[in-house]
Amino acid sequence: MKLTDLSSDINEWFSGSGPLADIVISSRIRLARNLAGYKFLNRCKTDEKAEILKKLRDVLMSLDLGDKIFYISVDKAPVLNRHFLVERHLISRHHAFGKGPRGAVIAQREFFTAMINEEDHLRIQVLRGGLQLSKCAEQINHIDDMIEQKVSYAFSPRYGYLTACPTNLGTAIRVSVMLHLPALKITGQIEKFFNAARDMELAVRGLFGEGTEAAGDFYQISNQVTLGISEADIIAQFENTVIPEIVEYENTARNQLLSKQIDVLDDKISRAMALLRNAHLISSQEALFLLSHLRLGLNMRDQMGASTPAIDTLCTLSRQDVDADKSRGLSIETINRLFMLTLPAHLQLNYGKPLDATHRDVLRAQIIRSALSGDT
């Protein structure tokens, strides 16, 4: 399995499928586990880390996940490959650029990844498009049970699954949902979302996790409390309260744009189209920012039947778009694909070799212009 087999296509997290996929990009559940009888990684010498790695690698590679699985030795992988895995949300930045023997086990369809020797011995995650937390939970529980048949986890009846950091104790579960909230940003209401999250004791991060900015109007919201509450309750809270409330905020903001700020909306979309179709150099940040506005316009067209001068123009951008319905114009799939393929490591892996920043910006602009060329 070569990474280039994955690189030219979008994966589960941006498939555009699943419930509420216009606003809820993806759902993810991650469990942290440590093996009984070993120190936490912080205190392990290289030999011990290597032993843990081998043990967990053997167990994971023997699992029946209904899909091909492959192993990547993260500490030995080329830097570009590591960036690629981070871009696809398969491993964390911490794992890519950490220390010591460590690896990742990945299912070919990318719905499952395991990081071995990240902050804990084992971190497993299941990822699905749209709001599908219950399905993620079912899958990851099953995988956790299968792994536990073959190893013993560090666990105490009082504190639950024992993790290297006390903030992950107990269920050691991290439930995350990735949201696209462009209307809240444009109408200056994104603070409302941050405050709601804070009131519910949830963490908000950007596209690539801890410490990252909200590029492209994407926000990841996740639980912080893991002890004294059950996995099912955390998930129910997200599915029944948290996410519906935020989706409601975003939809209200979109309606507000249509009813009271149509000029602002059209301006954002027109500027995005103009730049994306003409710029010679586009940075990754800028591409995400502009594509976000196009995605907003397309979603409003598809989900709300919205028709404004700028949104209607999106119908003319269809020549190169193989997914386009001629009467509807540019498709959401094309935009979703552009989000992913214009990320730096994706660009370079598909091109076949590393590129400096300027050349990346040129190539990115080329790819986007080509995907969006209309009837000229």
Partner: protein
């Protein structure tokens, strides 16, 4: 003070940039800040909060209480001072060794809760005694290999395998 961009709203965000020895100030309202893509962090994720809390505390005593100063875990040698630097523990047994000092931190992190009520491993899990024994055996194995006492190392390896099965 009024926002320097729109001149309409009150400036609630004040930015100071120092570059090349020059200092530049900007005063903007929330709306314009967002327009300009100026990120305003209104919330700090918990891990960062934990790290910053730990970094700011001047002494172990103030954070953890008087009784645990200098104490080290007998199994992995970890101390609270190290925890303060790294924000991660050394081994599962640290939760028992440092139970009292960690309790406050755990309460803060988990909304006052300190007892697990979620999933439990399906196997009758190896109790703490067993887990500690294994950690200790592995420590001894490490020492034996380091001092090139391979006979002892082999015996320890057998013991470990027996314990695990």
């Amino acid at each position: 003070m009024q926002c320097q961009i729109c001149n309409k709203n009150d400036a609630t965000i004040h930015l100071t940039e120092i570059a090349d020895g020059q200092r530049a100030e900007m005063h903007v309202c929330e709306h314009c800040a967002q327009e300009q893509g100026i990120a305003v962090k209104s919330q700090i994720p918990l891990n960062e909060l934990l790290s910053s809390l730990l970094a700011v505390q001047p002494t172990d005593e103030e954070l953890f209480g008087p009784s645990e100063k200098g104490a080290a875990c007998p199994h992995c040698g970890f101390t609270l001072a190290q925890f303060r630097k790294e924000a991660v523990l050394g081994c599962p047994y640290d939760y028992e060794v440092f139970e009292k000092p960690l309790l406050n931190l755990i309460k803060k992190a988990h909304n006052g809760k300190t007892n697990h009520c979620g999933k439990v491993p399906s196997k009758t899990s190896t109790g703490t005694k067993e887990q500690i024994k294994l950690i200790a055996l592995r420590q001894q194995l490490e020492a034996a290999v380091r001092s090139e006492d391979y006979e002892r190392a082999a015996k320890l390896r057998d013991k470990i395998n027996k314990c695990e099965n």
